[in-house]
């Protein structure tokens, strides 16, 4: 009987904790609270966890230097668990319970998409870092997407294929996800301008482990190059399997395939001729940037700091996380909001974000306006290839 009563009490206690937790309201303190929703578990944790690392580094750096106008920056982090329902719930919790001035999310397109109505409903600025331009026109008054869309950066690899390699026929090998959908849409849109025709389109599931059927179809088409567009391990497997099948076409890939763990595992295949080129950020290539490159110093500083703190060079996802916080910090600095007057402060922060002008970060230079929440981006993507275990810079936006 005692055991049963114990169980009952336990259950009641758990429910009560949950209840209390949900009832607590925002508490006004003298810090700038910024919410972060990251995929820490689930299929997109490979995007969320590294981004989180970068975010924390920047936030710590700001606070060590006395915060923003003397006010410390406080990151409040929740897991989106790879679910849009959880993503939305986490955002609402950040807004209603934690009283954040703004929140940021770096994860899959579908999930970040579900934040747009939350930010607009609850009138809190939301920064979403989905890598696709498909949702640019749906951001509303309160959402911002300060990151390049596909049509900003794919001219770089397509230009390389057309101009440097003389490719005119391209096959797309695309992930079945919001990211892949963006890729498919914009490849079709941009390629003709570069003088390239898309002659074959194949899709794969994010968890696919055998892409030989798709690669066979590409092999049997008259494509001269493959654009592998994916965010997880399947994209890297595609590179490996294509080379194992003896497909000697040019391969271009999205940045995820340049993640160190894939490059390390599949170095042999990444380095097979004809060379594979991969989109990447200036950050990881700063040593090879021209000395007059305006971003070189910034990248070097961050890289050295990163190695000091975490013991490894930052990847592109680390950089994306870092620059979200830099973007928010820039806005906070200009808005000078009073964190105790939440509603007014959020409005000010939003206005500040809208007036972001020429903000130069790792992945681009951003200029936003009240009518344009993704802004005119000057992208800073670079093309790299792999040689003797090293990444080699191939091309930058000039």
């Amino acid at each position: 009987m005692l055991r049963r009563t114990g169980i009952l009490l336990l259950v009641v206690a758990v429910l009560a904790v949950g209840g209390l937790a949900s009832c607590a309201g925002p508490a006004g303190e003298a810090s700038y609270k910024v919410g972060v929703i990251a995929s820490q578990t689930g299929p997109y944790s490979g995007l969320g966890l590294p981004a989180l690392e970068g975010m924390e580094l920047i936030a710590d750096g700001i606070n060590e230097n006395g915060g923003i106008d003397g006010i410390p920056l406080e990151l409040i982090v929740y897991d989106d668990k790879g679910s849009s329902t959880e993503t939305a719930l986490a955002a609402k919790r950040l807004i209603e319970v934690d009283g954040v001035l703004a929140f940021a999310c770096s994860t899959a397109t579908g999930l970040s998409h579900s934040l747009v109505p939350v930010a607009n409903d609850l009138r809190t600025p939301g920064i979403i870092m989905s890598g696709t331009g498909l949702i640019n026109d749906q951001l509303g008054e309160w959402c911002f997407k300060p990151i390049a869309s596909e049509d900003d950066y794919i001219p770089l690899p397509l230009g390389y294929l057309a101009d440097d390699q003389g490719v005119s026929k391209l096959a797309g090998l695309l992930e079945n996800s919001g990211y892949g959908e963006g890729g498919e849409f914009y490849l079709a849109k941009v390629a003709p301008d570069c003088g390239i025709a898309i002659v074959e389109t194949q899709h794969f599931d994010p968890a696919a482990s055998d892409l030989t059927p798709q690669l066979t179809n590409i092999k049997n088409s008259d494509a001269e190059a493959i654009f592998i567009w994916g965010s997880g391990p399947a994209g890297a497997l595609a590179v490996k399997q294509a080379r194992e099948m003896g497909i000697s076409l040019h391969i271009v890939t999205t940045p995820a395939q340049a993640s160190p763990s894939y490059v390390e595992s599949f170095q042999e295949y990444y380095e097979m001729a004809p060379s594979l080129v991969c989109l990447d950020s200036k950050l990881s290539m700063w040593r090879q940037l021209a000395d007059d490159d305006p971003d070189k110093a910034m990248c070097r500083e961050f890289d050295e700091l990163y190695i000091e703190i975490y013991g490894h060079s930052p990847s592109m996802w680390n950089a994306i996380g870092a620059q979200i916080i830099q973007f928010i910090a820039d806005g906070l600095e200009r808005a000078e909001p009073d964190p105790t007057k939440l509603e007014e402060a959020r409005g000010k922060v939003r206005d500040a974000f809208e007036s972001t002008t020429g903000l130069s970060l790792f992945m681009g230079t951003y200029t936003l306006s009240p009518t344009d929440h993704y802004g005119r981006v000057v992208p800073k993507e670079v093309l790299v290839t792999f040689k003797d275990g090293e990444k080699v810079l191939v091309k930058t936006f000039s």
């Binding site: 578990t41 482990s209 030989t212």
Partner: protein, 291 residues
């Protein structure tokens, strides 16, 4: 556009996938056959096998000892799952037991993530086995290892269940628990053994497929789902059914990925599966007696 080498390539891909799914399904079969529990943590053993082998291997251990250690640890985890979770709840309903294994799977996934991080890991093909070119199609160096392992597992299980005292005892527990007990077979011991066996099988499979598919903390659940579908479509009561189911699923996936309009292959592969389910409601091989 379509030539024979392409068809051959789809076929090879189907066999490859089919073997993976069948091998996972076999782990489900062993536990289900003996204890009647649908073990949704089977994929986690596959994950553990892969991740542990990678961990030992990258630490400098040779491949075989790495794999052995991984299998031993996975087997211990399997024993733990039975002793700490399934055994205390053995009188609960089947659905409660299923969700107990699911809870265990979540926790295992979380532990793997906190220990090894999110990165996907790979291994080189075993002993650097080379790719084989066959009439214009490619067989990856690791594929023969995968197929061979699955075959060995099947043969091993048949021999084990058919010809060893232990195996016969397991079979008896499955068919007639009460009768088994009266002739002195400890159903408890056998159930424990089935979990250990399934965990070891899973771990071996996990290590063998890693060079082909990579492994990460979260690969378990998707693999469990594939293995479950394979086992159910073929008939989870018989090893032959599981193998056939795995092959059917693998083939359906590979062929629809190769021949169907891209973008619809997921729908078509699973659509084929559902049609098979509906047309052979007791599994591809009709199991005698119970369903």
């Amino acid at each position: 556009m379509l030539d024979l080498s392409a068809i051959l390539q789809f076929f090879i891909s189907g066999v490859n996938l089919g073997c993976i799914y069948a091998a996972i399904g076999l782990g489900l079969f062993v536990v289900y056959g003996v204890t009647g529990v649908l073990n949704l943590a089977q994929g986690e053993f596959v994950m553990l096998g892969g991740m542990l082998t990678v961990a030992f291997y990258t630490a400098g251990t040779a491949l075989v000892p790495s794999l052995l250690m991984a299998v031993i640890i996975a087997a211990l985890v399997g024993a733990m799952l039975y002793r700490l979770i399934i055994y205390p709840a053995r009188n609960s309903s089947g659905s409660t037991l299923v969700f107990l294994t699911l809870g265990f799977a979540f926790a295992t996934e979380g532990i793997a993530l906190s220990v090894w991080g999110w990165e996907f890991k790979s291994l080189p093909s075993f002993w650097g086995s080379p790719n084989i070119q066959l009439w214009g199609a490619t067989i990856f160096g690791q594929t023969p290892w995968v197929v061979g392992t699955t075959l060995l597992l099947v043969i091993g299980l048949f021999f084990f269940f058919g010809h060893t005292i232990h195996g016969k005892a397991l079979r008896a527990c499955a068919d007639e628990p009460l009768g088994a007990r009266t002739v002195g077979i400890s159903t408890d011991q056998m159930a424990l053994f089935s979990f250990v066996l399934a965990a070891s099988l899973g771990a071996v499979v996990g290590a063998v497929i890693t060079p082909l598919t990579m492994t990460g903390y979260g690969v378990g659940m998707p693999l469990t789902i594939k293995g479950l579908l394979a086992a159910l479509v073929g008939g989870i009561n018989r090893a032959e059914g599981v193998i056939l189911g795995g092959m059917a699923l693998g083939m359906a996936e590979a062929i629809s990925a190769g021949l169907m309009p891209s973008g619809y292959h997921g729908v078509i592969a699973l659509g084929i599966l559902i049609v098979v389910f509906l047309s052979r409601p007791r599994g591809l091989l009709v199991a005698p007696g119970k369903v």
